[in-house]
């Protein structure tokens, strides 16, 4: 890589440009390319998976024609949307209208910079990783407001306004929940937080104390709301606002919003994994650097995708809340609760500066018990949902 750049400089392609600039530029370019080739299929496959999971929940089949099990459906959809006419309404603010999808996209795409896929696999391990994350995800709301305003459509405007209120409100509980972890880990860097945890579940920050345990659920709920996911998908509530801020969009611009939404789903899972679930930590079974890297990536990916699946599951099950209920949930319950988590963790650290292993282990057992009860309940529902009558199985 460096040789190639050196060669290009010697051949005089970058006359008069400082050498450092060229190196940095190439590094950014390569990182962007790698991320693009990772993020685009990721968001696409997430969209396919969501449709499949959703279909199974609704006792349908889902897309299964393009590729094995329909896994290439996202590619076909992408091509279809690329070929579609890109309509910009005459009354729209054309520049903002055209720009909005990309602002939303950048807001989600830039988060991938600080997501640690492995101990070596991170674009930039910023020492202010979490602050960067909070800042950059706020960009999404700007894009959505732009889309809502510039469409010159009242439904879009309502959707945009709802979204702005929602995202700005829910950043507070999400941010406070993240701060709880920052307290416990003592660092803002993503890699630092993962290094503060171990591979074993009871070493995760999720089970650090009861407050971080609660903070995890607060974070996940707030993140769903920030990502405009059901049950908080009021900005694009199709039964109320037609399609919210995307009403006037078509073709590839339309797809970019959903690209961001599905990609964002993975980001939610990745952040939850990094902060609460031990990130890429694996048990020390091998020293081979490549093998370790692959294992770390797989572990991280699976943990993150588990939460993507949970988000899909929630979407397939729950109705949507109303705007005022959404706000009262945030300001009356989640913000005070996340403050309690923050203060509780601070107090815990004063009492047990090194953490309390016994408490962690007990928390872990409680977590397992909750999970067991939950799955028992799910199995009960499945058993009851069994007798389905199909007279025409070929339909």
């Amino acid at each position: 890589m460096q040789q190639l750049v050196d060669q290009l400089i010697q051949e005089g392609y970058f006359e008069g440009v400082p050498k450092d600039f060229v190196y940095t530029g190439f590094m950014v370019l390569v990182a962007l390319l790698v991320l693009s080739f990772f993020v685009a299929p990721l968001a696409g496959i997430t969209s396919w998976l969501e449709r499949r999971v959703w279909a199974r929940i609704q006792s349908r089949v889902g897309p299964n024609r393009v590729g094995p099990q329909g896994i290439l459906q996202w590619l076909a959809d992408g091509i279809k949307n690329l070929l579609k006419e890109d309509i910009i309404p005459t009354a729209a603010d054309k520049r903002l209208f055209a720009l909005a999808p990309y602002v939303v996209f950048v807001g989600f795409f830039a988060t991938f910079v600080v997501i640690p896929f492995g101990s070596q696999l991170i674009v930039a391990d910023l020492n202010i990783g979490i602050l960067y994350l909070l800042a950059i995800t706020s960009l999404v709301v700007v894009g959505i407001l732009m889309a809502g305003w510039s469409s010159n459509n009242k439904w879009s405007l309502l959707g945009g306004m709802r979204s702005a209120a929602q995202i700005v409100s829910y950043e507070i509980p999400a941010g406070l929940a993240l701060l709880t972890i920052v307290f416990a880990a003592g660092t803002l860097s993503m890699q630092g937080i993962i290094k503060a945890q171990g591979w074993a579940p009871w070493d995760w920050l999720l089970f650090y104390n009861p407050f971080t345990f609660a903070a995890f659920f607060l974070y996940f709920t707030a993140a769903l709301a920030e990502g405009n996911r059901t049950p908080f998908d009021i900005p694009e509530a199709e039964s109320e606002l037609v399609a919210g801020y995307v009403t006037e969009y078509s073709g590839m611009r339309f797809l970019f919003f959903f690209f961001a939404e599905w990609g964002n789903l993975y980001v939610i899972g990745a952040i939850a994994t990094t902060l609460f679930l031990g990130g890429w930590q694996i048990p020390p079974i091998t020293d081979h650097p490549v093998l370790v890297g692959i294992l770390q990536f797989i572990v991280f990916f699976l943990k993150a995708y588990l939460w993507v699946f949970v988000a899909m599951w929630v979407r397939g099950t729950l109705p949507r809340v109303r705007v005022d209920q959404l706000m009262s949930l945030c300001w009356k319950y989640m913000v005070p609760l996340s403050f309690i988590c923050l203060l509780g963790t601070a107090a815990w650290m004063v009492i047990w500066p090194q953490g309390n292993r016994v408490a962690s282990f007990v928390m872990f057992l409680i977590g397992v018990a909750i999970l067991g009860l939950f799955f028992r309940r799910v199995r009960f529902q499945i058993r009851h949902a069994q007798p389905v009558l199909y007279w025409k199985p070929y339909i």
Binding site: W155, L318, P319, D324, Q381
Partner: protein, 380 residues
Amino acid sequence: MDETLHTEGEGFHTEDMTISMGPQHPSTHGVLRFVVKTDGEVMREAIPDVGYLHRSIEKIGEKVTWHGYVPYTDRADYLAAMFANQGFCMAAEKLAGIEVARRGEFCRVIACELNRIASHLIAVGTFGQDIGAITPFIHALRERETINDLMEEICGARLTYNYIRIGGVGYDITPGTCDRITQFLDHFEPIVDEYNRLLSYNKIFIERLAHVTPITREDAFQYNIVGPNLRACGLKWDIRRDIPYSVYPELEFNIPVGTGEKGTLGDCYDRYMVRMEEMQESCKILRQCLKTLPKGPAIAKVARKFKPPAGEVYIRIESARGDMGFYVVSDGSEYPYRVRIRTGSFTAMSIIDKISRGIMVADLVALIASLDVDAPEIDR
């Protein structure tokens, strides 16, 4: 959600936003239109604008023969086509003084109750979808598909049946179909519980519907609310019991009424629950009918050139959307002189403007869905 939310800043001009909701809007169940005035998210008024699905069904009645008009009545309310069939046929029979074949009456009740279940499934399914839960809608349609299959077996059509004829029914119900209906009921009754667990007792769902747009009994009388919407106000009024027709007096069934269990009496949740319970009652009726299905012909002998004596008649039946009335005038000719259809959805539309003031836009969607208004039935 009162006047205080309407902020008029000093020296700051604010205006209500006028939005046209429909005729192409995902939650208006067909082609309804509301001219909605909102203050941000809060509704100021919602004026229903009907007539986008007008097909002059009443006028067509004057131009076709008595027998030939039956398929047109299907289209009056295509989600519950069987009831309009029955209403018109009962009017014609009453005019001509025809005794309906007894087995035909039972076949009618079976078909109507199956259709009531199908229609209520659509109602509660789309209700869930309007609230944002998509899965219950698909599950409801899955069950409705089975009913459609049954209907196909009974009369060959899946949506607009043309099954009930003057004097009885077009085709007899075979023993095999009876078995299948029983099989369906065995399957469907537990499904209602599953549906309850998935949607009815969901915390978010209850929060969204409880206390939302309650209709008082006085309002219900003044605006002529009928059917499940009226029963949700706590009034036990069902044409099947109070102005009995067909073989309903011989059948045992309860009339579910709204109880205000989660909120106010007559709110959206009551309207929803009444429909859920009515489906179970329909299952009971179906079981009784299948048990006591008499032998004999399914249709009485009716002249092909049907000419009832001059006169007029008004028939009321309990459709899935409430009191459906057929006012039919005959001048003794081959064609009806006048057919007038009175439907429940039309009157239900008129109350929306009154009770939707001050609620949220999202609640308006819930209100429309809870009244189960059906565009074809409004316009006819």
